[in-house]
Symmetry: C2
């Protein structure tokens, strides 16, 4: 986005040179962000400079590229139209709801649109590189696994870096443009719509992409592997290209948008909490989240550059080493940021370390529940021997169980960072100090976000590379190399989801508090006045009940969309097999494009209803529950009920996302374990049962689960933006 910075930078530099600590730190933040974008561009050049393989490989890769770009174009068209509608509603709502504030309607609308556009750009740029990195990774795998890993990881890093840098640039420039350096106590509230715009786009991107990828995958697996008995990625399967396209639009573009809105929403939320500490830290408390994140970007770049596979080692070890390097530098950067901006307060630094430890624990718990080294997946694999029903029962039980440890970790993290904040010796109320502690912990957890995201996007690139190698019939040794990378990619994908839900849970408090501060500001109350969200009061409890229900209903719509779209593709593949027996013999090519087209249509149609639900429900509750306002209430019942909806919706969303992500991952790996030869190996009845489990888990872990991450944050940002309606 150099065009945006062009205007802001010269003026900002002038201001920075004229003194003002805020200006200096903002300049540093924006400079680091631009630098990171340049590094990302460098990685993209590196990737594009690689060899593009044989003509056969290019044929497959081009089909994927065409399908992915066509889908993303269609999807973005739909999203942009919805954005225009919502922009008009926001503008009109603020004009009517807050007529006394001349700037707010325009600023909110502008922030919203910029947030939405940046999110589209982040998703698109990530996918643009990834659909070009896949063939280059495949080609590199013909020679050397280390080179293949470099191509895939640097391709992934383009997404990781541009997502985090764009969110910092967007928030930073809006903050500057709205006069945040002069009025840091009010401007953070005016850019919340940036987070909402980002969440809004992320929800549709994740839903659309998630439905696409899993409908294609479920469809391809069911008719291919189960019915026709052909292996995964077999070129005779008409749905195979759609499946490979899906990896890009779901995992790359979707997850990119997801993490873009995470970083954006959490930056803004933390800045709002920093406002409550204005008496202690001045503008520095508001700027801290941005600078800490910028330092995290540098740590991630160093980490990515440090990754190298030594000899014949497991590529996962190399990636883990990179993660440790990133973490070490992130802790150092965090210490520096605390030293520069927060008077070197060691309690707050400790809160940041709590966040970093939480990230680690989440990664380990996710591994325990989804890798076949451990009991849960082994249990599922064993239950496969008694058929698909027991496979599902056991897997579902594992999914339900896996919520326990993360909840205890998050509870520990929230409580300890809160009380670190309380005891940090800040001269503000207990609540404000404690919540700033949780905000710092969130920043700590997210310090390594760019590296994690690079690892995540690594997954679909290697998956695609494997598909290209398989379909273009490369020699066995090349396949072995891509298989190894692919299996590493599966692990990193699972870990990122654990990380994403962990950070969403930790950030939840930060966003609730931002909402509460917003309501207080709207009512002209002091930031430290009490705001009890008493779920013992009947309308508030009802709001909470509806919030939890919303999560169930949303998950239902997301899953059902996959089931429906998958059914259409199954019918299409069956039709093709029947119409042309040459396909199965390998003598004639199947019609890949028809499958790609059918899923795209289905996914876009299906994403609209679940996408609108989490926007409409909180607004309806907030507006309708104003009816219940009684004169004895300190705060409007509508606003309080929405807070309860938000909190209990978030709790339910975290649990449901854990269930979906880990349950799905566990089924997937139980199948992989059986494919190593256990319980009869491939082709056995146990294997067939495990395929059913894997298929059921697909929409859980790749559609509903990741969409719930976005839902949680969308609930926070929509309530922030719509707050004036509830009062």
């Amino acid at each position: 986005m150099p065009s945006l910075t062009q205007f802001a930078f010269p003026a900002l530099l002038l201001q920075a040179s004229g003194g003002g600590e805020g200006a200096t730190y903002l300049t540093i933040t924006l400079a680091i962000s631009v630098l990171s974008l340049l590094v990302a561009a460098g990685f993209a050049r590196y990737v594009l400079a690689q060899d593009t393989g044989t003509a056969d490989m290019q044929k497959v890769s081009n089909a994927i590229k065409l399908g992915a770009e066509a889908f993303l174009k269609r999807q973005n068209t739909t999203i942009l139209w919805l954005t225009v509608v919502l922009a008009v509603l926001i503008f009109a709502g603020y004009k009517v709801g807050k007529p006394d504030d001349p700037n707010i309607a325009l600023r909110m609308t502008f922030s919203f649109v910029i947030g939405a556009l940046c999110s589209v750009a982040a998703g698109f740029s990530g996918m643009w590189v990834s659909i070009r990195a896949n063939i280059r990774t495949a080609s590199a795998a013909r020679n050397d696994i280390n080179q293949a890993l470099q191509v895939a990881l640097r391709g992934g890093a383009v997404t990781g870096l541009s997502v985090v840098a764009l969110s910092l640039l967007g928030v930073g420039i809006l903050f500057y443009a709205f006069g945040g350096l002069e009025d840091p106590q009010h401007v953070p509230h005016q850019i919340v719509a940036f987070g909402f715009g980002a969440s809004f786009v992320a929800l549709f991107a994740q839903l659309g992409g998630g439905i696409y990828t899993k409908a294609a995958d479920v469809g391809a697996d069911l008719v291919g592997k189960v019915e026709a008995g052909i292996p995964e990625d077999d070129p005779r399967n008409p749905a195979v290209i759609a499946d490979l396209v899906g990896d890009n639009v779901g995992d790359c573009a979707g997850r990119g948008a997801d993490l873009f809105e995470s970083t954006a929403a959490e930056n803004i939320g933390a800045m709002i909490l920093g406002v409550a500490l204005y008496p202690v830290f001045g503008i520095q408390g508001v700027m801290f989240p941005l600078l800490a994140r910028a330092f995290g970007l540098i740590a991630s770049i160093i980490g990515i550059l440090s990754v190298k596979v030594k000899g014949d080692e497991d590529p996962m070890n190399a990636l883990n080493r990179g993660y440790y390097v990133t973490t070490a530098f992130a802790i150092g950067g965090f210490y520096g940021a605390v030293h520069l901006l927060l008077q070197g307060n060691m309690y707050l630094f400790a809160a940041g370390v709590v966040g970093i430890i939480t990230a680690f624990l989440f990664v380990y718990i996710t591994q325990y529940y989804t890798e076949y080294k451990y009991r849960p997946v082994m249990d599922i694999a064993k239950s496969c021997t008694t058929g698909p029903a027991t496979t599902i029962i056991t897997g579902f039980a594992v999914g339900l169980e896996c919520t326990a440890m993360p909840v205890l970790v998050i509870s520990g993290a929230i409580l300890s960072s809160y009380y670190l904040g309380v005891n940090a010796g800040l001269n503000v109320g207990e609540q404000a100090a404690g919540l700033y502690g949780t905000a710092i912990a969130t920043m700590g957890m997210l310090a390594t976000a760019a590296y994690i995201l690079a690892m995540d996007t690594f997954g679909p690139i290697t998956d695609n590379a494997g598909g290209i190698v398989e379909m273009s019939k490369q020699p066995e040794e090349v396949r072995k190399r891509t298989d190894r990378l692919d299996s590493v990619g599966n692990t990193t994908k699972a870990l990122t989801k654990g990380y994403a839900i962990g950070s969403a849970a930790l950030a939840a408090f930060l966003l609730f508090s931002a909402y509460i501060d917003e309501v207080k500001l709207l009512l002209g109350k002091a930031p430290d006045s009490p705001f009890p969200i008493d779920i013992g009061h009947v309308p508030v409890f009802t709001g909470a009940l509806i919030g939890a229900m919303l999560v169930f209903l949303f998950s239902s719509l997301a899953i059902r969309a996959v089931g429906r779209a998958a059914e259409t593709i199954i019918e299409e593949v069956r039709r093709q097999f029947k119409a042309d027996p040459g396909i199965m013999k390998g003598t004639s090519d199947p019609d890949y494009a028809a499958c790609v087209d059918i899923v795209a249509k289905g996914a876009l149609k299906a994403m609209v209803l679940p996408g609108i639900l989490p926007i409409a429900v909180p607004v309806l509750v907030g507006v309708c529950f104003r009816l219940f306002a009684s004169p004895t209430d300190q705060y409007p019942v509508g606003a309080v009920s929405v807070a309860a909806l938000l909190m209990v919706g978030t709790i339910t969303g975290i649990l449901m996302a854990l269930l979906m992500n880990n349950g799905g991952g566990a089924w997937d790996n139980a199948k992989k374990y059986i494919e190593t030869g256990a319980y009869g190996g491939k082709g056995s009845d146990a294997h067939k049962a495990s395929v059913v489990g894997d298929t059921v888990g697909d929409p859980f872990k790749d559609t509903a689960g990741p969409s719930l991450h976005v839902l949680i944050k969308l609930l926070s940002t929509i309530t922030l933006v719509a707050a004036p309606l509830f009062i």
Copy 2:
């Protein structure tokens, strides 16, 4: 329990004759309860006087009887030992925690033990009749469907009437014995342990029975129907007797204990809320719940007596007519009770009608989601054509979706009854008046409980009758008659679950408020002082998060227990088929007893951990979170965090129970729909997929779902009893 009433009655009659309105109404309540027990005894005599069929039929029936009684004896031994342990803990806890109150430790312990014993008695008596009514229903079906229906329904009515009457007698006598007529403002708080005792036994009864029934069912289905290809209830299947035993111990004894604790806990909760209205209604407000329930008993008896199948009509119509009759008389009785005790307040009467309407709506919504006349089940059936994976995905989506309407209905019911209470012109605070309105609605919803429970127990009796007819190879026309009754029984079982979860949801508020009142009483605060449960406060939010997680973990343990026990029975059946090929040929008898024994052992072992969890977690949270007490808090943080745990746990529990019950019911009926000939009918691939769905749904709808009803109320009663520890 005539021995208990022997002591209480003469003294009470004396007191009643000496004036005192409380004594009069209590006498009426107890008299109606005793009368209902006599009617139940009459129904039992009627059932026992029926013909017991052929020797073949008796052979099957005796095997069921033996298995069921042996299991219940073992189960009750385990439960009684656990009860002794807990009784000691309660006594010691109150001795240490409240040394200033000399009576409380003994009274609490005594109430707890009586509650536990009454619950065991209610479960046992219901099952005692039901395992004798099954063969008599089967025998009657040889002549006439109406007579068979009468036997089954009256057998069910024994459970229905004795459960409700015993709970009234228990609460009423304890109230009297503790001096409630003289001190009606404190005694209701002293008998909360009766409700806890009942919930405690109910949880183990429902868990043990639920695990037993579904492990046997899943095991029998998977090896019988799917692997060996023999029909349900085929005598060659070694697990078939265990399956039939399971219907009795799970559906009869388990559900009986479940509804016993519901009525007990809700009566006590409503009495405690009545205390807050003491300034308005005096003792009458406290007595109202008991008298209203007693009138409901009379309405249910009339309803049961009115049921008659006319000519060739659907037996379901006859049962529905009985339900309408019961409802009409229940409304009349409710009006009478409001007139006698609540000054004829029409707002409160309207709140009761809200409860009755809620019961109706829940029954209809449950039908919509679980009958194959409607879209949801049809969708699942269609998805069966694309294999088991899409069957599971679609069914799970239906289960998630089905939470939406009930939540809206419950929200509407809670809000409208609350504001009816607020506007009823009572001279107490808004909160107290509103909550009494919701209590009245709960009483309205539960007025027809005895009839509903009779319909529910009708289910396993007809199911067993069908099994006996099948196994003793009766003529085709007899089978057709029992099949018709069995299918009606499936419907009534599903409806009862909808009703049970609806009443649990409506009653939730009543039990929360009882807890809050209890805490206020313990702290010596006025009943109308505010008690905000602010989930915006970090420790309180953490409590809420743990409450929601508890529901997930509990469900996991319950489901997994079924999966494990089912795996052992599958191995046993496979072993028997292999060891003796004569079994499949029908030349030698399988070893039924071995299967019965294996499941019993597995179920009892598996019920302990999930049973202890919901007792230990709230107590741990309440005690540990006292650490976080800060001087600015009005109430101890431990007590408030437990309240949040309770409320959010209840919300999550309601949603999860709806998902489990309706999802499971929908899969079951999708299979039944295909068995009518749709999508290829029996034996087709779609049918095989539907059997997988049905099997997955079994532990959902018959183990985890119903256990969650109990869990919700156990959380309320354990927190009530353990409240002194949190302060």
